[in-house]
């Protein structure tokens, strides 16, 4: 690989932009394709599919020769809104999955380092905290877990606007119905609101905070790995509401 290609790749990664490296293993020829340039590339549809699935691998090039496509998608960040009991259970599990976790909660009694040792913890309202974390993007997952609309809603609004990879909100169906009303009044249509997984988590009958944390992360992984467009994990009624 040429050093300038490697530098350009690392620059894309540092900026949290996806990029692909296409290599001919036969002769070693290589090129960098930035996410924004995929559609203009001769391998456009293939590269788009690779980026969507996040899977690197060998494929057939335009002239029938094999090419290796390396997908470099930014690491997924996980923003947890609410320094609550479930969030405490989420911390070790999310770490095992390699998620870059941040917990935000303006209530300093909850957002204390004693409760969250070794975690990036921001005791601010979401708008302020998200400024500090950096802009939300398509490689960010967000879970709103406070039960308090004053805290959860601004975070959910920011996540919807940023087209986050995964958005979930804790609360019963009744709570979510009221949330849908507020977000509709704020100008979001049913398709946008349907992107929120609520009640959050896969239905595994979770009861304890650790089990709920597991159900949330299982849903997050399913959404990231299986693609959020054909989200077969999502309950049929939620899928309809999002249609």
């Amino acid at each position: 690989m040429r050093l300038d290609t490697l530098s350009a790749l690392n620059a894309e990664r540092a900026a949290r932009r996806a990029a692909l490296i296409v290599t001919d293993p036969g002769d070693g020829s290589q090129r960098l394709v930035r996410a924004a340039a995929i559609d203009a590339d001769p391998l456009g549809p293939l590269l788009r599919e690779r980026l969507r699935s996040g899977r690197s691998g060998l494929a057939e090039g335009p002239d029938g020769r094999p090419v290796f496509v390396a997908v470099h998608a930014p690491p997924v960040r996980f923003v947890v809104v609410g320094a609550v009991h479930i969030s405490q259970a989420l911390v070790p599990l999310a770490g095992q999955l390699g998620l870059d976790l941040a917990v935000i909660d303006p209530r300093t009694a909850f957002a204390s380092p004693e409760r969250f040792p070794g975690v990036r913890l921001i005791a601010e309202w979401p708008d302020k905290a998200l400024e500090e974390i950096g802009p939300l993007d398509a490689y960010t997952a967000l879970a709103a877990l406070t039960h308090d609309p004053k805290i959860d809603d601004p975070a959910l609004v920011a996540a919807l606007r940023a087209d986050c990879a995964y958005i979930g909100a804790l609360g019963s169906r009744k709570t979510h119905a009221r949330r849908v009303e507020r977000l509709t009044a704020a100008g979001f249509d049913a398709a946008a609101i349907g992107r929120i997984h609520a009640p959050i988590g896969l239905d595994i009958g979770a009861v304890s905070p650790a089990e709920i944390a597991l159900s949330i992360l299982a849903q997050l992984v399913a959404t990231l790995r299986k693609g959020r467009i054909e989200d077969r994990i999502k309950a049929p009624d939620a899928a309809r509401a999002g249609a």
């Binding site: 690989m1 040429r2 050093l3 490697l6 530098s7 790749l9 690392n10 990664r13 290599t23 293993p25 002769d27 070693g28 290589q30 996040g54 899977r55 690197s56 691998g57 060998l58 290796f68 390396a70 997908v71 470099h72 998608a73 690491p75 997924v76 999955l97 390699g98 998620l99 992984v221 990231l224 790995r225």
Partner: protein, 107 residues
């Protein structure tokens, strides 16, 4: 997606900028239960220092030896490892899988 090869690629760039000779090894294909996924990297310098992993330790020694040749002549190579491979007794994958590794020089 859920983990990152970021540090290895950054190290590869940093090492080269320091003037070290550098090769990059990448897992390009796996069969069966391979220890590291496609896209995993190992970066090697001319003094056999390395970072990252293409097999969780099973065949790294062999890859490093080949990488030194790649550093020498600049010609990229594709290596294959597996229990069915004739090199299995010295560099085999105990998991029973097979992997193909592309090794290239950073120029």
């Amino acid at each position: 997606m859920l983990s990152t090869e970021d540090d290895i690629l950054r190290a590869a760039e940093g090492w080269r900028r320091e003037g070290r000779a550098v090769a990059l090894a990448t897992v390009i294909e796996t069969w069966g239960s391979a220890p590291r996924p496609v896209g995993s990297h190992l970066v090697i310098d001319g003094d056999s220092r390395f970072l990252g992993s293409v097999s969780g330790g099973c065949v790294e020694g062999e890859v490093i030896t080949e990488a030194l040749d790649v550093i020498e002549d600049g010609r990229p190579r594709t290596l294959e490892f597996g229990v069915a491979d004739e090199t299995a007794w010295r560099a085999g994958l105990s998991c029973g899988g097979r992997i193909r590794v592309f090794v290239e020089r950073i120029d």
